[in-house]
């Protein structure tokens, strides 16, 4: 692992913390991506525009990254599209059931020292590591 990559990881992380703080400062909301997206699926009045605006910001940030030409995007090298499709279903179902993902529980929740977020983060880190490690073990199989 290149030490420069770890510096970039920390700096990028700091930007994520800054963005989460900006959202809290301006509209008092938690920057949990799954909650922001999921809230659009059963929309209530006055609650839609800010969510769409945030997601547009995310998308435009992605476009800006793509325009720089830096190779920041990569799909997983050793996962089939079947695996990705099942992964998407599990992630979508799981984050709604568990009320959050890496951003809402992992970053924002741990910052507040929320017990729920600590339990959620420990759980998804554990099952995530177990899954990825088992796949690595059986590499070359159907996945």
């Amino acid at each position: 692992m290149n030490p420069f990559d770890l510096i970039l990881a920390t700096l990028g992380g700091a930007l994520i913390g800054l963005a989460a703080s900006g959202l809290l400062f301006s509209v008092g909301r938690i920057a949990g991506i799954s909650g922001i997206v999921g809230g659009l699926l059963k929309p209530t009045g006055g609650d839609v525009a800010w969510r769409i605006t945030f997601i547009l910001g995310l998308l435009m940030g992605g476009v800006a990254l793509a325009l720089t030409g830096a190779e920041v995007f990569a799909a997983p090298a050793e996962r089939s599209l079947w695996a990705i499709a099942i992964a998407g279903l599990l992630v979508g179902f799981g984050v709604r059931m568990g009320n959050g993902c890496t951003s809402g529980h992992g970053v924002c929740g741990l910052t507040r020292r929320s017990r729920r977020s600590l339990a959620a983060t420990a759980m998804f880190m554990a099952t995530g590591a177990l899954t990825a490690t088992i796949i690595e073990f059986f590499k070359g199989g159907i996945l």
């Binding site: 910001g57 998407g88 979508g92």
Partner: protein
């Protein structure tokens, strides 16, 4: 307008942070979750950077009476650790380790136009809708159960 500009900027900076930190490269995420001698620690550094900055600013922000462009802070207050939280998080983790994407990097990666990112976000939304339907079904069943037990059984 100022409100929406700041919300947009928060999303924009969030995306830049994900890109710069290497989290829009799914192999960095899979490398973190794969516990072998090739372990990639970068996700831990991202968490430290994000929580470090947010920890300082969070405290300063909450000294205010209200957010700059709204009337109240909407911060989750629940403290109970229930089966839903743990089951949901466990399922999310399995999907995360399987695909290497979580919701934020998935959405930001749409800009790359990669089939994997498009497929991930599409199926993720299907999964979210599916949970909404599942949740409705469960709560309807639960209501039905309460209704049945509250009435005396006249048939027997």
């Amino acid at each position: 307008m100022k409100t929406y500009l700041s919300i947009f900027s928060a999303g924009f900076v969030f995306a830049l942070g994900l890109g710069i930190s290497g989290m829009t490269n799914a192999d960095n995420v899979i490398g973190f979750l794969t516990l072998t001698e090739m372990w990639n620690p970068s996700l831990a550094f991202v968490m430290v950077g994000a929580i470090g900055v947010h920890l300082i600013l969070f405290r300063l922000i909450l000294r205010r009476e209200s957010p700059a462009c709204d009337t109240v802070f909407r911060i989750p207050t629940r403290k109970d650790i229930d089966g839903r939280l743990l089951t949901g998080s466990a399922l999310f983790g399995i999907g995360w380790g399987l695909g290497g994407f979580c919701p934020g990097p998935g959405i930001v990666s749409l800009a790359s136009g990669s089939p994997a990112a498009l497929l991930f976000v599409g199926t993720m939304i299907v999964g979210m809708v599916a949970f909404g339907e599942f949740d409705k079904l469960i709560s309807r069943k639960r209501e039905g159960y309460v209704e049945n037990t509250s009435k005396p059984n006249t048939a027997s």
